[in-house]
Symmetry: C2
Subunit: 133 residues, 2 copies
DNA sequence: ATTGTTGCAAAAGCTTTGCACCAGC
DNA sequence: GCTGGTGCAAAGCTTTTGCAACAAT
């Protein structure tokens, strides 16, 4: 769980380590309220402004990824191997899925529109396995 | 520009017709501020609460689609043939693109996770043709 | 006449900011 | 000691809500 802070010009603080750990142990992307809850479970009192600042800093440095799934707010997750999300419209669960959007798509986009793709986000909405029963 | 309101139990009002027309004539998804600007150009004074209520109603009825592209707010567009978006990280322009995410992806998701896909959203981020020059 | 729609004003939810103080390096 | 991080309180922005008046069917 050692994010090389110094390389990025960042200082290591209790709050930052905790946020990295919390996101690392979560099985889905967390919103700020969720992160604050976990911090409280660890008996860490961290101001909301600080949480937002930590997340913004981490986002700029590429340590966390910011995602939106139609809730009108952000969720955050550790930046890891690129993946996509399955959002259950029944229970709200968010699962990761690793499927490969091949480079063919980027090439197709470039060919059709002259647009140079640098990244993408892909979310699936539907019904998770449990909610189908 | 005739959305069959009555079938949906909706009443036809000036504000609603204007919103449909504005979104129909826009070349990219608009946020609420943008819609209000267009309404003002038409000399229509429509309260922001009303704009939000119109958009929410239209969204529920499947008349408009709500999208998020990492801005912390919603944008709206007329629900038409399914397509995706190219978001230029330099100038902010949002283009539509029609590429086909084949059903193979839905099948792959179901096979891997038992998740029944109903819809998806896919956005590409990168540099548009003009901004490359 | 009924029912849905709007305006107004207030509030709610998420996120940011200014500033003084404090901690990591 | 310097630089950057934090807490606190206030504000900013987007979106929602209650209620009374109004308009469409």
């Amino acid at each position: 769980m050692n994010t090389d802070y110094s390389k990025q010009g960042l200082k290591q603080t209790e709050a930052r380590s905790a946020v990295v750990m919390i996101l690392g142990n979560s099985n889905g992307p967390l919103d700020v309220a969720g992160i604050k809850e976990e911090l409280e479970k660890l008996d860490l009192k961290v101001d909301q402004a600080t949480v937002y600042r930590i997340l913004n800093t981490f986002h700029e440095k590429g340590i966390v990824k910011r995602i939106e799934i139609g809730e009108g707010k952000y969720r955050y997750e550790i930046e890891k191997e690129h993946h996509h999300h399955l959002v259950c419209t029944n229970c709200g669960k968010i699962e990761d899925i690793e499927i490969d959007l091949s480079d063919d798509f980027d090439r197709e986009v470039f060919k059709k529109k002259g647009f140079r793709v640098e990244s993408h986000s892909l979310e699936f909405f539907g019904v998770c396995e449990l909610c189908q029963k």
